[in-house]
């Protein structure tokens, strides 16, 4: 439903900006081993790129991107990715979240820790993105022009 607040210029600008913000968010998450950044900051950037479309486009257009019912499972996937990494390491004989025991063949302990940190950063990023989108969706629910 198009309301009188819709502006094609704002929507076009948001459509131009949002993919680059999302790409930069993934860059901040994945490049967090070498530069400032990490899961929380990258997740906030990913959420910013999704919320930009939600604010400027309205409910119908934002339904094409990430639907409202998909945010809660996405957050659960993020938390379970983190917890599962620690649990697998514990099952394989180490302590909880001791990445050196992850069952990835052909890697030394230090590179296993590197990979484990990358996995948990992606988990944090997914959870933070989904939670921020979820908070926005719940706050504007019931208002048609939002």
């Amino acid at each position: 439903m198009r309301s009188k607040f819709d502006s094609p210029i704002v929507l076009l600008g948001s459509r131009l900006l949002a993919p680059y913000i999302m790409l930069f968010g993934w860059y901040v998450i994945i490049h967090g081993h070498y530069s400032p950044g990490g899961g929380f900051q990258g997740g906030a950037l990913l959420a910013a790129s999704v919320l930009l479309i939600r604010i400027s486009g309205g409910r119908v257009i934002s339904r094409l991107q990430i639907q409202e019912f998909a945010t809660t499972p996405l957050a659960i996937v993020g938390v379970v990715l983190y917890f599962g990494t620690g649990l697998v390491a514990m099952i394989m004989g180490g302590n909880f979240l001791d990445y050196a025991y992850l069952p990835i063949p052909g890697m030394e302990a230090d590179w296993l820790r590197y990979t484990g940190m990358l996995i948990i950063e992606v988990g944090i990023g997914l959870a933070v993105m989904a939670i921020l989108i979820m908070i926005y969706d719940n706050m504007v629910k019931g208002e048609d022009h939002a």
């Binding site: 081993h33 990490g38 929380f40 620690g86 990445y99 940190m117 944090i124 959870a127 719940n138």
Partner: protein
């Protein structure tokens, strides 16, 4: 009243500035938090992290190693806190909306 507020602020700023004169210099290697051993005789964990972060995890960013490896259970707690905040938003706002619909 406004003069009282301003004077309280100025007084507080003076206390803070006076206290900051006792802080150790930034980057001084002789500081207590950079020492190998604290004044009570126990080893300082921070010096271990600084010396062994790259050897343990092959990651140049020391902050990521501390956040993701040495202190990963703390980070897991942070993630659970964010998750709980999102779920509570879901619960609180959804209940309010249903009640409003019932009254109508």
């Amino acid at each position: 009243m406004k003069a009282l507020k301003i004077s309280i602020l100025v007084l507080f700023a003076a206390v803070l500035i006076y206290a900051s004169a006792d802080l150790p210099m930034r980057g001084d290697p002789d500081n207590l938090m950079h020492a190998e051993e604290s004044i009570t005789g126990t080893t300082v964990k921070g010096s271990y992290f600084i010396q062994n972060a790259y050897r343990d995890a092959r990651t140049p960013n020391m902050v990521t190693v501390v956040l993701g490896d040495y202190r990963s259970i703390d980070t897991f707690g942070e993630q659970v806190v964010i998750y709980t905040a999102g779920l509570i938003t879901l619960l609180v706002l959804r209940v309010t909306r249903n009640r409003r619909n019932d009254e109508e």
